[in-house]
Amino acid sequence: MSIETPPFAATPHSPVASPHAHAGASVTRVMAKVMLALLPVTLYGFWLYGWPAFHLFMFTITFALFGEAFALRLMRRPAVPVLQDGSALLTGWLLALSLPPWAPWWIGAVGGLFATLVAKQLFGGLGHNLFNPAMIARVALLISFPIPMTLWVAPLPMGSVGAPGFVAGLQITLAGIPQLDAVTSATLLGHAKTELARGIDLLHAAANAPVLSYIGDRAGSLGETAALLIAGGGIALIFMGVISWHIPFAMLAGIALPAFIGHAIEPARYLDVATHLLSGAVLLGAFFIATDYVTSPNTRLGQLLFGLGCGLLTWIIRTWGGYPEGVAFAVLLMNALTPAIDRLVKPRIYGRDRKGKPREPTAVKT
């Protein structure tokens, strides 16, 4: 009897070195878990904003996948195994959730292509992009097409009176919104910004402000309004071990602290904590976007700094910046700082001090 195992050269994917066991994690599985956590808020967004939201979502992910496949094709690499890792799908998915739900199809198409083709594959593909592709695409769209990117519709749930059906919804996505004024609405952050710019302080502006909602039935992006569903999905991700609490916690704290202080000092000029936390992309950003592995720091302390920076910058942009919302900008700015954070914050090596010098031996107590 003789048992042969193939030599190393015959099995390039099975290196000769240990370990011979694996915990079972895979990139596809990680991406699938994130998508699973996003599913409730996505389905809720479809229901809340009707068929146009669904069509926009499909356009966005289709073009995101196409952008990835096209780039791989240009590089003469097989596309299917890369598409199977799920990262392009997730990028398109996150981008779609951050878009105005009744935006025209080409917003989703341009955004999806831009996300995977420019923001991801041009940088070298999965793992090599410095910036979050979905947020790059969102910001590119916002700067290039400010009107359709800030056109918010009031919720019109599927099946309710006047809600467009599947075909009418497709028409809205492809050809634009008929009777624009009838369906559009302001977001809370946009309202506050406009009123402050008009010289009306927040105390007076509050009277005709859109209502804040935990369950998301307000104007906003496709998947950013349902606070409870987003936070629920995010917490599920923490329990599944996909993300840790550090970035979401620090980011929420980074917004909540200055918002609390500002609002306590001058409520007429600064929005309150709840409005900040429940508006715009904060929750989606804190749990699903800032936590992107590729573009966030490696160490726990680095992640706390990163999250705090994201939160603080969001508050600063919202409060003093030109845009009512600042999550995408804040995350991108902190993405740019990630290599610096990783350089500064490193784990301490066993037997060495923080600077890497060997520790002095201390005798074991007897």
């Binding site: 048992i3 011979h20 994690a25 599985r29 490696n298 302390l301 090596i349 520790r359």
Partner: protein, 520 residues
Amino acid sequence: MGLIEKVFSLLESRHWGVHPADRKRPAADCPVRGLPLPERLYVPLQQHIGAAARPIVLVGQTVLKGQLLAEAQGATSAAVHASTSGSVTAIGDIGAPHPSGLSFPAVTIAADGADRWADTGVSVDPFSLPPQEIAKRVAAAGVVGLGGATFPSALKLGLGLRSKIHTLILNGGECEPYLSCDDRLMRDAPDEIVDGIRIMLHATGAQRALVGIEDNKPEAIAALTAAARDFPAVLIRSVPARYPMGSEKHLLSELTGQEVPADGRTTDLGALVHNVGTAWAVHEALRQGRPLVERLVTLNGGAIDMPGNIRVPVGALVEDVLAFVGLKTEPARLVMGGPMMGNRLPHARVPVVKGTSGILALTANEATTLDPGPCIRCSSCVRACPVGLLPLEMSARIGIDDLNGAVAFGLKDCIACGCCSFVCPSRIPLVHYFNHAKGELAAQGRAQLRNESAKRLAAARTERLAREAQEKAAAAARRKAERAAQKAAAAKEAAGTTAAGAAAAAEAEAAQAISAEATP
């Protein structure tokens, strides 16, 4: 400690390591079986860290079990003994238990079936012996570290004598999945182990022994606690089951709260770490006079029909042991050692050695085949690393051949435990990269040494040539000067005869003048 340092240490959760499925049972609970004596044993000369032993038997010679086959040579080496009685039929090469498939020298013994021990009667109480004598006997018995590193134990005991050891740490961690040979030994031979520990305490002069056992082995903890009841110097400690708890530095930190300095050894802290199996081997050597010729080997893995712990003579072929436990299916991979750090075997015709803790016959399901994808910087490896390295950064540097960059991230502190590869969702063979880089660095270091010595030789040669040329020139000049001097002397001599005459005339003249003055 500054504020920043305090924040760092607060956040620095030392949640190192991983929790692989341990798969130790049912093998760990099966009673030990002895391997029926194979017809031939192939006892390798190199079963330890250091130089291979030098054979002292001749082909055709009859040997008894426990008889010395090869003696230690050099500062770091260990003796090798016959693991059964019979005759030496060859001293030649056999496949080594190493993935390279290379071979190494071994003494082949055709067993006579009697398995007769050489006369090993020992009547001396080890505690009446001086510590040096114990180290000497441990060396004579060919005992090496049985935890896997196979460092000659006597040298380690001697190290203890030299560097003032007060704590002996016994590694009963056995953190590798699948393996249970230490567990089994602790359950079955607790008194022998405790006796071995006490002998080692005597040999090192340490005051206490801490035995660290992972809490997934309650039977072993109970057995050793009972065995150590009457010996207050031997303390049994339960440690959390976590891989790599059996790393000597990590076990020491868990038991004492101290860290071994990066460039130091455990002896710098006054501690010495030995495996529990080594304590048993020391007991056997000192009490029975029996050298290390057999050990417990865990046979485990999905392809094995009757997994369990087998008492195997050193030099038995893996295929003999596999035949004894039976194979359910053709194994996809054979591993010697545990799944986290063990060596993949090229085939089953390799001998069991002193350091063989287990033989795993893994099915395709169990043995990971890695199909690496790009790193997604998830930092799972950073959290898993028990040393505090950034495996993802190291592998990125190695990928672009920036070995110095990898060293700056701590490559040299890497203990190759495999935690990073184990958790990597992109299935990147990180340890493979690190091993490659370490090998490359070692080769570079050797090449540099060679270069430097060549340079030194060249410089010495140039210097010597220059010196010789100079000496030659100097000699030539001297000879020339001598010749010139001789010439000058000869010329002087020739001129001297005339000059002497003139002087004599002048003298006479002067004498005349004096005498004229003297006569007024």
